[in-house]
């Protein structure tokens, strides 16, 4: 259970920091870079989430004995 909350905080933190960087870069007038940073943040979060989703599917498979 402890690991699950850690992952929540990690993803929330990445989101907040990416949003801050986006705002600052936009203020600097570098909107293209800001968009790129948002995209990178999104991709990183997606990779983390997909990893955990695949773990979840494996677990479901093993619970219902759908191996193979």
């Amino acid at each position: 259970m402890l690991i699950d909350t850690a992952i929540l905080f990690q993803i929330a933190g990445i989101g907040i920091v990416t949003a801050l960087i986006h705002t600052i870069l936009k203020q600097m007038g570098k909107e293209d870079v800001a968009q790129f940073i948002s995209l990178v943040g999104f991709a990183i979060v997606l990779i983390i989430v997909i990893n955990h989703l695949s773990q979840l599917f494996q677990q479901i498979k093993s619970v219902f004995m759908l191996q193979g």
């Binding site: 990690q10 933190g13 990445i14 920091v17 960087i21 600052i24 600097m28 007038g29 990183i44």
Partner: protein
């Protein structure tokens, strides 16, 4: 525990990079300002005391500080030996200055343009050349100050935030 120490070190390093970049922005404006001051000193020395270039550079070196002072110091040092072509000397020192200071290509170009005309004209012409160079440098200084105001604080916070982001990703 090791994770915590590592994250703190990483964030500190990233923030440091941000602070360093903002320091360079500040330094460029400062160096441009002291170059303008040094050119005005040279004008005054040429017009009123009529020393040789070596003595003028030594005087300027005493009145400025940092990279600008050492630039004029090296020039005066090299002028102690007989020199056939002053322009190459000026150019050599400018390339060295470019490596050591935070000045950009444009600033160095303006200064090298000035070096071509030094000592080849009458006092009146020389004054005009100095005025022109000061005018160009003033433009560069305005731009540098503008950039400093624009980027100074954002660069600092960007460094810190990037550190935080990478730590969060890797944790």
């Amino acid at each position: 525990m090791m994770k915590l120490i590592g994250s703190i070190l990483f964030i500190t390093a990233c923030s440091w990079v941000g602070f360093d970049v903002s320091k360079q922005l500040n330094k460029r404006a400062h160096e441009l300002r002291s170059f303008i001051y040094s050119l005005q000193l040279i004008e005054a020395e040429m017009a009123y005391s009529r020393h040789t270039l070596k003595d003028i550079f030594l005087n300027v070196k005493r009145k400025t500080e940092g990279e600008v002072a050492s630039f004029y110091g090296r020039l005066a040092e090299r002028l102690k030996k007989p020199v056939t072509h002053f322009e190459t000397l000026w150019h050599d020192e400018l390339t060295l200055l470019k490596k050591r200071s935070t000045l950009k290509d444009n600033d160095i170009h303006i200064l090298s343009q000035f070096g071509k005309n030094i000592g080849n004209h009458t006092i009146e012409e020389q004054k005009k050349q100095i005025k022109l160079t000061v005018f160009y440098l003033q433009k560069q200084l305005d731009e540098a100050i503008d950039q400093k105001n624009k980027y100074d604080r954002t660069v600092k916070s960007l460094g810190f935030l990037f550190g935080l982001l990478i730590v969060l990703i890797l944790i």
